[in-house]
Point group: C2
Chain length 154, copies 2
Amino acid sequence: MRPIEDILANVRARGGKITPQRVLIYQALDGDTSHPTAEQLHERLRSWLPHLSLTTVYAALNDLAETGDLRRFEAGDGQVHYDPDTLPHAHVVCVRCHRMHDAPPPHGRQPLPREVEGFVIFGRTELLHGLCPECAETAAAESAALEGDEPDGT
Amino acid sequence: MRPIEDILANVRARGGKITPQRVLIYQALDGDTSHPTAEQLHERLRSWLPHLSLTTVYAALNDLAETGDLRRFEAGDGQVHYDPDTLPHAHVVCVRCHRMHDAPPPHGRQPLPREVEGFVIFGRTELLHGLCPECAETAAAESAALEGDEPDGT
DNA sequence: TTCTTTGCAAATCGTTTGCAGCATG
DNA sequence: CATGCTGCAAACGATTTGCAAAGAA
């Protein structure tokens, strides 16, 4: 994400107004690598601004996303996630618990194609689906238990 | 997607039952490159089975997705899309009209990493975001019109 | 007969919208 | 003081769930 000052300047340049809510949201986002949903962010910020409404969080996030200062993506859990890191990079997602990490290079770091199938390309979202260490362990334990229930397993 | 017979055999092997609805859905999916949503598929199949319910379509699709015979992904339009092509490949999506194509090789055809950040990797979803030819034209026309409204544009 | 699947209606859940009051520029 | 923003409540739309009836095995 660009420095907060740049973003605020941009808001003002577009005729927008700078409110304490937006500043708080922008600051919370800066450097956040947890890929939060609007609701998660809202929950966190409530401690600082108890009156902050979820609607306002959505408004601020979608605004940033439209100017390209924030990446917005769906990760297969039915919710929209936001990522202040707008450089091309991949995400690893657990298909069970939906825990999510940035994938280290080289994944997703290839340069963007300019044009594909006649489409002008702006951005890329790359998700790697798998099991996180915890869920992999649970899954292993479960399948072991299942084998115990199947006498034919010999 | 695997041949229909294999899929049906698998259903039976898991204690499932083979119904006309499921067979119809599997057949419709086979070779489909349009990345339909459950609702789109439902709409199409209604001509053959007017009584087919959306619930049933969801059940069949989610079942196939769980066995890995169908890829399930969200494309930024708030809906879940299904793709019978389960080989790793990328999709090009129009951010305006949500039209979608498969990206031709080499995009997204790199082999899957086995493990990333401790996660065991099963699959990948790669989305290229951009403007389709039609929307690019519309967008160009719109920005031209906007410039006309701004006398300072000189 | 047994147990899964179907199909309807209602519930759920994340996100958006309408609108009145408030605060920024 | 004009306009954009906030925050509440209500609307929305995609997906899921509960349950009784139907139909595979």
